[in-house]
């Protein structure tokens, strides 16, 4: 049976859906906090990310490093009032962080990604830690570790922290966002080291900076899986090998600094006894 629709006056009419208002960012001329957001084709989430960024600290600037974007990411960021650094070509994974850090003027550099919206109250602890003396304020998220074998990246992060005698950091890493770095910290490790985050972490620990996991945001659930390629029949993310390899670069640097055993004793092996 087909029900005939009766004409009825609409009393409770929904308001017409308007485009959501864009966040209005105010970049302080002499900022205390610089929020650095590398973005490549992230128009879908960028407005939300910028809105939260604007709520982190009153004396802040927001820098969007729009690289290789073809979807209007840069224009959107500009419309919101962010400082925008444009490059036509993709800078590459983590390279945008270095570019943003070079342009930053604040004393605390907060790094977030453009592809996930993290509420400002979850970002403030990192900034507050840096403003009160921490040099590297890391995300305490360690990744899933309930099974016997961990994901290669999770394993690499734990191993590197252990080798740096910082097992207390567990799987916390500069690879994961959000994190904040003091200006002194960034200058000590060298801005170019920020392109290889595990290397920057290793340098920070060995050079005696104050490195702490200050707050935990479970970014694993927020991170979208993408760009999988087939390798031996399995779908793998090429980023896994990149990040795991970054950890080897950090270990290589550690070995160059501390000698072939990384400063660990061999408990007096009589190596000369073996022909």
């Amino acid at each position: 049976m087909v029900k005939k629709r009766k004409p009825r006056p609409r009393l409770n009419r929904k308001p017409i859906q308007r485009k959501p208002t864009l966040p209005r960012l105010v970049n302080h001329p002499d900022p205390l906090v610089s929020i650095i957001i590398p973005a490549m084709n992230e128009r879908a989430t960028l407005a939300g990310v910028l809105r939260e960024a604007g709520r982190v600290h009153p004396l802040s600037e927001t820098i969007v490093v729009a690289n290789g974007s073809t979807d209007g990411t840069a224009e959107l960021a500009e419309a919101c009032g962010a400082r925008v650094i444009r490059t036509p070509e993709p800078l590459g994974h983590d390279v945008g962080r270095r570019v943003g850090a070079e342009a930053a003027r604040g004393q605390a550099l907060l790094f977030v990604d453009a592809d996930m919206v993290i509420p400002a109250r979850e970002l403030r602890p990192y900034v507050e830690a840096v403003l009160s003396g921490v040099d590297l304020a890391l995300n305490g998220y360690s990744g899933p570790a309930g099974r016997k074998e961990a994901h290669p990246v999770v394993l690499a992060k734990h191993v590197l922290n252990g080798l740096l005698q910082r097992s207390d950091l567990r799987g916390a890493s500069l690879t994961a966002v959000p994190h904040a770095i003091s200006r002194k910290g960034a200058e000590t490790v060298g801005l170019e080291a920020l392109e290889v985050p595990p290397l920057a972490l290793a340098r920070a620990v060995l050079l005696g900076l104050n490195v702490q996991a200050v707050h935990t945001v479970p970014v694993g659930k927020l991170n979208p899986a993408r760009g999988r390629v087939r390798d031996k029949g399995k779908r793998v993310d090429p980023l896994t090998a990149l990040v795991a390899g970054d950890h080897l670069e950090a270990i290589h640097w550690l070995l160059r600094q501390q000698g072939p055993r990384g400063g660990y004793s061999d408990l007096g092996r009589q190596r000369g006894k073996v022909r």
């Binding site: 800078l91 099974r147 090429p238 990149l242 390899g245 660990y264 004793s265």
Partner: protein, 379 residues
């Protein structure tokens, strides 16, 4: 009531978390010394219900009869372990036993031995094995007079060419605890050589095609050691002890275990998990020893890294629980102990060594940073 049920569930769940070592495969149901608590002897035989065990039964009776025949044919003269070994090797080759899973080979070997011993009137404990190459065992010990005799006793059951005992820094009766036997070579050093140095010295002296390494402080059943010998004899270059069943979840693993897993992963062998030459028992081929050099054995993870980087064959064919049985000393217990730190240093040394030839990023080779960005974020 509800509280009670909750309490009764909790401990049970904890127990379940322990590795189901015993129930794995069909090894739990076999006797002849094959089923021992805490040991996984080999991969399950046969996939289908009773088919596997009945064919195993057939194999057993066949081996028993062959053993009886072998003893009867020789009639007293020349009976003994070399004769048993030779007869079994020929029979195993003829019956194509050598291609079977370890558990089947062991079952056949033990049944053959029983038949042989009964017919010859000997109380034999030897385990004949279908080995193509010769095998040397290397035992390192430092003040282990209590455990050393048991270790040697297990080794003497095996068809080994030689047993090399490297004693160092002993001020107890370790030297006299090793009996005199033409098969046993005693190397004694008054001073402590340090960790794993004895292994390298023993390996330099060894002449066999297969080298089996173990420590003097822990006796491992000959049946378990046999699997390592068989694995190398069949073409593996490194046969590691599979400690995975005894490991806790990743969050509770120690630094050393994680380093071991990371080294394997970095060399493209994630399938080896956290198994390492650092753990005994393990065995290697002469080809492996030649490839990595005797001196590399001083730092076992370095030897392993070199072997994996050069593409040698490695696997972990069997599990022997050395964690629970290991003697607890002040220096090797607790987090951050001296031995653990040394092993971590060994892994750094290993990584540094292979980075020289394989590049800093080892097997984690991938596209450039910007190419990956393009792949993941391009519109």
């Amino acid at each position: 009531m509800i509280m009670e049920t909750k309490h009764s569930i909790k401990p049970r769940r904890k127990r379940n978390r322990r590795p189901p070592v015993r129930s794995r495969g069909r090894t739990g149901r076999m006797n002849n010394g094959l089923a021992r608590k805490g040991h996984r002897l080999a991969r399950p035989i046969g996939r289908k219900g009773t088919a596997g065990s009945s064919s195993l039964q057939r194999l057993k009776s066949k081996a028993l009869a062959a053993g009886v025949r072998a003893a009867a044919e020789s009639k007293g003269a020349g009976q003994g372990s070399p004769h048993l070994q030779e007869c079994f090797r020929e029979w195993a080759q003829a019956e194509r036993i050598d291609g079977m899973p370890y558990a089947a080979i062991l079952t056949a070997a033990l049944a053959y031995r029983r038949g042989y011993a009964e017919a010859a009137g000997l109380s034999s404990t030897w385990i004949p094995l279908p080995l193509k190459g010769s095998a040397s065992a290397i035992v390192t010990a430092s003040n282990e007079e209590k455990t050393l005799p048991a270790v040697i006793a297990e080794l003497r059951k095996l068809p080994l060419k030689e047993i090399i005992v490297v004693l160092n820094g002993c001020n107890d009766g370790s030297f006299t605890a090793v009996d005199r036997d033409p098969r046993i070579t005693r190397l004694s050093f008054p001073e402590r050589l340090g960790h794993d140095v004895g292994r390298a010295i023993g390996a330099a002296t060894a002449t066999g095609d297969i080298l089996l390494f173990l420590d003097g402080d822990l006796s491992v059943a000959a049946e378990d050691l046999a699997a390592f010998l068989l694995a190398v004899d069949r073409g593996e270059d490194l046969a590691l002890n599979d400690l995975s069943p005894y490991l806790p979840p990743f969050s509770q693993q120690d630094e050393v275990t994680r380093c071991k897993a990371f080294l394997n992963l970095a060399l493209g062998r994630a399938d080896l998990k956290a198994n390492s030459l650092t753990a005994v028992p393990n065995a290697m081929s002469r080809r492996a020893l030649r490839t990595m050099g005797t001196a590399a054995l001083i730092v076992p993870p370095k030897a392993q890294a070199l072997a994996l980087a050069r593409g040698l064959k490695a696997s972990a064919p069997i599990s022997v629980d050395v964690i629970r049985k290991n003697r607890i000393r002040n220096s090797n217990s607790g987090a951050g102990n001296a031995v653990a730190k040394m092993i971590i240093g060994d892994h750094l040394e290993a990584l540094g060594e292979v980075m020289k030839t394989e590049g800093v990023r080892l097997r984690f080779t991938t596209l450039g940073r910007s190419q990956i960005a393009k792949m993941r974020n391009a519109r």
